[in-house]
């Protein structure tokens, strides 16, 4: 066991305690948390800064407003319902089609929900069933991201998203999360989605992981995980780096989706991003974080991204 600890240490693998103690507590002031814990305020911030986000169709603030959902989505075939303060993807409903005549909704995983099922789900969200600490919450109804052809071979029914860890404005590690049958089409590692590490320099996938174990092929489509090239990689990195100025949070997880028509969009921000990204990249975080800590504050976005692509991407894991 000591050998295991030493090996993980030597490779700079970050544990939860160290992440909390040394990075989150030091670089993420608590007063900034509401900016990212509430997806509505994140969305407003991003829109104000000119970053593309999925269009907001409406907000359901109270039990009384639940009945207004049909009016809200009348002009749209598909949409997403999510709790503003949900965590870990809990409580998100992706409606892929609405059968207006029968007043039923088809979800992305194929199941059918009636009008009252949706209303019950909305009132649960508002009561705070999915929010941290059970506080009252609001439900967001927004644009449903269209599947980008890049991932046609690498996803089961859901839309993959890209997670970039941004430390003091520098992208340090990134991966793409590919939905599987087991994850019910959700891009959530805890629920069984594939995490595929991304080469920071090129935006090409490297290794895959399901749960804690490495994989080389997508379990449902059989496509090889490695070697998938993401489009607009430089833009994606600049996009995520910009989120630092957006919130001021030093240690940040940026989730981006690729839309077929509208390109990359900011999905959400996370002040406590998970650590499985290290398994997906087969690379510890600490040495890269240590390099960024030595950089002076205030560098422009382009410079930070260039540093990430050229220096961080090539950083040997055991550099600390």
């Amino acid at each position: 066991m000591l050998a295991l600890i030493r090996k993980l240490q030597a490779n700079g693998v970050l544990g939860l305690n160290e992440r909390n103690c040394e990075y989150i507590m030091r670089y993420n002031p608590r007063r900034l948390y509401p900016l990212v814990d509430d997806k509505l305020s994140t969305k407003r911030l991003a829109m104000a800064a000119g970053l593309p986000v999925p269009e907001l169709y409406g907000v359901i603030n109270s039990h009384r407003e639940v009945r207004e959902l049909p009016k809200m989505v009348a002009a749209h075939r598909d949409f997403v319902v999510k709790p503003a303060q949900g965590s870990g993807g809990d409580g998100i409903l992706v409606v892929s089609a609405r059968v207006k005549e029968r007043n039923v909704y088809r979800l992305v995983d194929g199941s059918i929900l009636g009008e009252d099922d949706i209303e019950h789900h909305l009132s649960n969200i508002i009561s705070g069933q999915y929010s941290l600490g059970g506080h009252r919450d609001v439900a967001l109804v927004e644009y449903c991201v269209k599947f980008d052809a890049t991932f046609s071979e690498h996803s089961f029914r859901g839309v993959p998203d890209i997670r970039v860890i941004v430390f003091r404005g520098y992208p340090v590690l990134s991966m793409v999360r590919l939905p599987t049958r087991r994850s019910h089409g959700k891009a959530n590692l805890h629920q069984g989605a594939v995490g595929a590490g991304l080469d920071l320099a090129t935006g090409r996938t490297t290794h895959g992981v399901i749960g804690n174990s490495p994989v080389t092929e997508h379990p449902d489509t059989g496509a090889a995980i490695a070697g998938l090239q993401l489009p607009q990689w430089l833009y994606l990195l600049e996009f995520s780096a910009r989120c630092y100025e957006l919130t001021g949070l030093g240690y940040l997880g940026v989730d981006i989706v690729l839309d077929r028509d509208k390109g990359p969009m900011l999905l959400e921000l996370n002040a406590r991003p998970g650590l499985n990204i290290q398994i997906a990249n087969r690379c510890g975080l600490r040495s890269r974080l240590a390099l960024v800590e030595r950089q002076a504050a205030g560098a422009p976005v382009e410079e930070r991204v260039a540093y990430a692509m050229h220096t961080l991407a090539a950083a040997a894991p055991a550099l600390n």
Binding site: M1, L8, L16, N17, G88, D90, N212, P214, I279, R282
Partner: protein, 510 residues
């Protein structure tokens, strides 16, 4: 920087807690182990006399223990019908004086003292001045001088002088001088008395002391003479009967000097009797009493000063920090996830009544049936708070039902289900059902089992008798628990279960 502050703070807490603990343990004698018992002895002196046919004033005095090397007085009382009494200090120690204006017929006066062993009592005595040289008439004076000279030749210090002297006094037949000094008496009291005179002539402070052997049970305890000699530094004790140095292990000094044990003014035939009885006492009570007698404020702030029922509450409450510490370790160092941060501690409290196995079975029973109802209710589409209330009602009914069924079957363990925190159970069911739906049954069951394991471990920590005793008697140890929690708050190493998680990653790395 932050780390340094935490270390300083934790160290301070550790030292304060430790100092209080040591003071109470070493100085006040609070017991370290739960099953320790302290022996206490009840010594009773009974004076019986006849006041005569006519009513007349009576005054009686009795020497009572004052300076008692090796022992301390826990409690004393004076029982005497109709008599007024006062205690005062006299040359021989302490004395009680009973007085009554009119008394007739047989009278009985009691003095009762409860004493316990206390090694610190040895240091209380003072250094005496040099004794005045005895003035004796011839031929006694010559005999005395010769004896002093002879004994001095064969001794080196006050201790050996006394031993040699007592040896000579015991053998009164052999030495003319000794025979003269003892004047025919040869009982230990006379020998001790003679020894005091000879030692005074040799400029060695000495005094005759009388006391009682503390045996387990004795109705007619004898008063035993003893010889105290000061060697310039401390008091030494000698048995005048054998010449052996030292005090018996259980010996209560009653009074010192030449005065008689009691005096009686106005009474006739007098009889005095000592009885001794040993008892076991709760050492905590003895320690509390001792703290009061040394005027320590500690006893005022002790939990033992609370009413018994409140004490019972705190006996439980004081274990909760330990349970919380166990949770901290299991979550932040081992890495087990639980439903609710301190839910396991509350469940562990319920385990105190049910014991672990029965508790786990009852908990699983209530939660799984509650979950079934919760899934059923999902179809009814209730608002969150009414739904929680409904689950709570079902939990209460389930608990009652389990108790009734268990009672019918003659299972005692089912009855204690009522002690489970039902709100906590309800919230556990609610959270578990959400995790079940959002993350799948595997994760829900895993977290449920994790919570139960943590609760069981908390319980076994909180149930250790030694810890229960220590934290109740020495609540300052909570400062240690606090210090440990503070330090664990800065632990940034891997969690044990993280190692499992990263194992496959490590295998892929250099």
């Amino acid at each position: 920087m932050q780390g340094y502050k935490v270390w300083v703070f934790a160290l301070a807490l550790f030292l304060i807690g430790g100092a209080l603990f040591l003071y109470k343990w070493r100085e006040l004698g609070y017991p370290l182990l739960p099953e320790e018992e302290t022996s206490i002895w009840t010594v009773e002196a009974t004076i019986q006399f006849d006041a005569g046919e006519k009513s007349m004033p009576v005054k009686a005095t009795l020497h009572i223990p004052g300076l008692t090397p090796g022992f301390a007085i826990l409690d004393e009382n004076f029982v005497s019908r109709g008599f007024g009494f006062t205690t005062r200090y006299v040359t021989g120690g302490r004395q009680v004086q009973w007085a009554i204006r009119r008394a007739k017929g047989p009278q009985t006066l009691y003095y009762r003292a409860v004493v316990y062993k206390d090694p610190t009592q040895f240091e209380n005595d003072t250094t005496p001045p040099f004794p005045p040289l005895p003035v004796l008439s011839e031929p006694l004076d010559t005999a005395l001088q010769q004896l002093v000279a002879q004994v001095r030749d064969q001794s080196a210090d006050p201790a050996s002088f006394t031993v040699e002297l007592l040896k000579r006094l015991a053998d009164s037949g052999g030495d003319q001088n000794v025979g003269l000094l003892l004047a025919g008496e040869s009982d230990p009291t006379s020998r001790a008395r003679a020894a005091v005179t000879v030692l005074a002539a040799a400029q060695i402070p000495a005094r005759l002391m009388r006391g009682i052997s503390l045996v387990d049970r004795e109705r007619q305890a004898r008063v035993v003479p003893w010889l105290e000699v000061h060697d310039g530094d401390r008091w030494l004790y000698f048995d005048p009967a054998t010449g052996a140095q030292g005090l018996p292990e259980k010996f209560l000094t009653w009074w010192r000097g030449e005065e008689s044990l009691y005096t009686l003014d106005g009474g006739g035939e007098t009889e005095i009797r000592f009885s001794v009885q040993r008892n076991e006492a709760d050492p905590v009570l003895v320690a509390e009493r001792r703290a009061q007698t040394v005027q320590s404020r500690i006893a005022d702030f002790s939990l033992f000063s609370l009413p018994i029922q409140t004490q019972a509450v705190y006996a439980v409450l004081l274990m909760i920090p330990l349970g919380a510490l166990a949770v901290v370790i299991l979550r932040n160092i081992v890495g087990i996830t639980t439903f609710g941060t301190f839910m396991p501690v509350l469940v562990a409290l319920a385990f105190r009544e049910t014991q672990v196995l029965a508790g786990v079975i009852l908990f699983s029973l209530v939660v799984s049936i509650g979950l079934l109802f919760r899934f059923f209710m999902e179809n009814l589409r209730l608002l969150l708070v009414p739904r929680l209330a409904s689950v709570l009602i079902i939990v209460v009914m389930l608990m009652a039902l389990i108790s009734i069924v268990a009672n019918q079957l003659g299972l005692d363990m089912g009855l204690s289900v009522g002690l489970f925190p039902m709100v906590i159970l309800t919230m556990t069911i609610e959270r578990m059902s959400i995790v079940w739906e959002e993350r799948g049954p595997a994760e829900a069951i895993q977290q449920g089992v994790g919570s139960l394991i943590v609760a069981a471990i908390c319980f076994s920590v909180m149930d250790i008798n030694l810890l229960k005793h220590l934290f109740f008697v020495f609540p300052e140890l909570l400062l240690w628990v606090l210090a440990i929690c503070l330090l664990l708050g800065r632990y940034s190493g891997y969690r044990l279960l993280e190692l499992v998680r990263f194992k496959s990653l490590a295998a892929l790395m250099r």
